[in-house]
């Protein structure tokens, strides 16, 4: 089924999404990969705040190529989500409701998704040029020194994803 979903979204929206739904996302998402996740969990361990309020937010696991002059961003497709499995449950417990990536997740992430009513979307891996056209703004909001791995805030429009794991335990893989 095709749907349009506005990001950020709360748990009730997650509950309405089912594995297999083809979804177009509109709104804002945050971008973070391995290095940024590691730093975020280190900040939490040190008793500090995250660089953004994570409640109801969606994190896109992605590290773009550099933008050419006049472009918002370079190529911008998903990276393998399982590398974030070590960090994701803690962030889901803090209220994160969405994840965008590609590939399988661990049991600990599945459990955290059910517990917190979160949704995992897959974007098509290796379609970074096409996906970049659905990104209308991009701004680095933290960890600029990480280069391609910095935390960004993106505005997206008609961004195509598929629900691969829903908060009811459904999984497409």
């Amino acid at each position: 089924m095709e749907k349009h979903v506005t990001v950020p979204f709360d748990k009730s929206v997650s509950e309405s999404l089912k594995a297999g739904d083809y979804v177009f996302l509109d709104g804002t998402v945050y971008v973070a990969r391995d290095a940024a996740h590691k730093r975020m969990t280190q900040s939490l361990a040190a008793g500090n705040e995250l660089p953004f309020d994570i409640k109801d937010q969606t994190i896109y696991y992605m590290g773009p190529s550099p933008a050419r002059d006049g472009k918002v961003i370079g190529s911008a497709g998903p990276t393998t989500a399982s590398r974030m499995d070590k960090y994701a449950p803690q962030l889901l417990d803090l209220g994160q409701t969405g994840m965008i990536g590609k590939g399988r997740r661990s049991q600990a992430v599945k459990d955290a998704m059910i517990r917190n009513k979160a949704t995992y979307f897959a974007a098509v891996g290796g379609a970074g040029a096409l996906l970049s056209k659905c990104i209308t703004s991009s701004e680095v909001v933290a960890y600029d020194d990480l280069g391609a791995e910095a935390v960004r805030k993106l505005t997206i429009k008609d961004f195509p994803v598929i629900v691969v794991m829903d908060c009811h335990g459904g999984c497409l893989y």
């Binding site: 083809y22 290095a35 992605m62 590290g63 773009p64 190529s65 550099p66 933008a67 050419r68 472009k71 370079g74 190529s75 911008a76 497709g77 990276t79 393998t80 399982s82 590609k102 590939g103 399988r104 897959a122 098509v124 891996g125 290796g126 379609a127 970074g128 040029a129 096409l130 970049s132 056209k133 990480l146 280069g147 391609a148 791995e149 195509p160 598929i162 691969v164 497409l172 893989y173």
Partner: protein, 280 residues
């Protein structure tokens, strides 16, 4: 002795980096277009359609096909009658990578140390494999490798008694485990024989052989065809969401080995199987 200034190698490598990350070779494009026509799963067809559009956008607007523009793997075949002048050949190759990744707006994905993990910010060093060959030419093959699929690659040290059935089981195990993580449809490079490191190198080099071109060895060609069919029966499908097309090609290279061993390496590549060659 033919003299070749290393600067010409820098220039060639730099141009190759930019081209290969924006435009797939004809063999890979043909695979994708054929798969789109043949795919019977709705979601699979939709995904292959997105990948076709992605290729067109990448080429027209000079946006890399995939944001993971890889670690640069380079095969250098240097003729023994060549005298390289004007500097260190390895520095020259790395300078080409540095320039290409900067001028092509390609992602810098290399960290200087595997544990300390500080980005080198210019995508160097490349992984360079040198071979001395007869002649007075320098052949350069560049294959930037993304790590979504690299991480799913495997080496199996089989026993001779495992035989060809063991090889088949290893290939299928690697592909099944790779599943959606390796951005299918994949290209599967296989190395059989040699030693622990030689079979990995054979598998890597197999990925640079054009899809659809088979091994000249009869049983190996048959194995390539049989494995491609078997992989496409796994129903992993485009993006791992089910469908007929899980792999575009299985390319197998072999080498003599020890009486006690049967090494097998399976190097998985995604549909963005970038390879480009020039001869100077």
């Amino acid at each position: 002795m033919r003299e070749i200034p290393v600067e010409s190698i820098t220039e060639a490598v730099s141009e190759m980096c930019i081209k290969v990350c924006h435009e797939l070779s004809d063999d890979m494009r043909t695979c994708l277009f054929d798969a789109y026509e043949k795919e019977t799963s709705d979601i699979g067809k939709k995904i292959l359609g997105q990948l076709k559009d992605n290729l067109a956008i990448a080429k027209e607007e000079m946006i890399p096909i995939c944001q993971d523009t890889g670690m640069a793997v380079i095969f250098m075949k240097v003729g023994q009658d060549v005298h390289l002048t004007g500097g260190d050949i390895t520095d020259a190759v790395n300078e080409g990578v540095r320039r290409g990744y900067r001028e092509g707006f390609l992602r810098k994905s290399v960290v200087a140390d595997p544990i300390e993990r500080v980005n080198t910010k210019d995508n160097t060093p490349a992984v360079i494999h040198y071979e001395i060959v007869p002649g007075d030419k320098v052949g350069i093959t560049l294959a930037p490798k993304g790590f979504g699929s690299e991480n799913m690659s495997r080496v199996f040290m089989l026993k001779p008694a495992d035989g060809i059935e063991g090889v088949k089981a290893s290939i299928l195990e690697a592909v099944r485990d790779a599943g959606p993580n390796a951005c299918p449809p994949m290209v599967v490079g296989v190395g059989i024989g040699g030693t622990f490191e030689k079979c990995a190198l054979l598998a890597k080099e197999a990925l640079t052989r054009p899809a659809g071109e088979h091994s000249p060895i009869g049983y190996v060609k048959d194995l390539e065809e049989e494995m491609l069919d078997a992989i496409n029966e796994l129903d992993i499908g485009p993006a791992g969401l089910g469908g007929k097309c899980t792999a575009f090609a299985v390319n197998i290279n072999t080498y003599p080995t020890h009486i006690a061993g049967l090494p097998v390496a399976v190097n998985i590549c995604c549909h963005v199987n970038r390879h480009i060659s020039v001869e100077i």
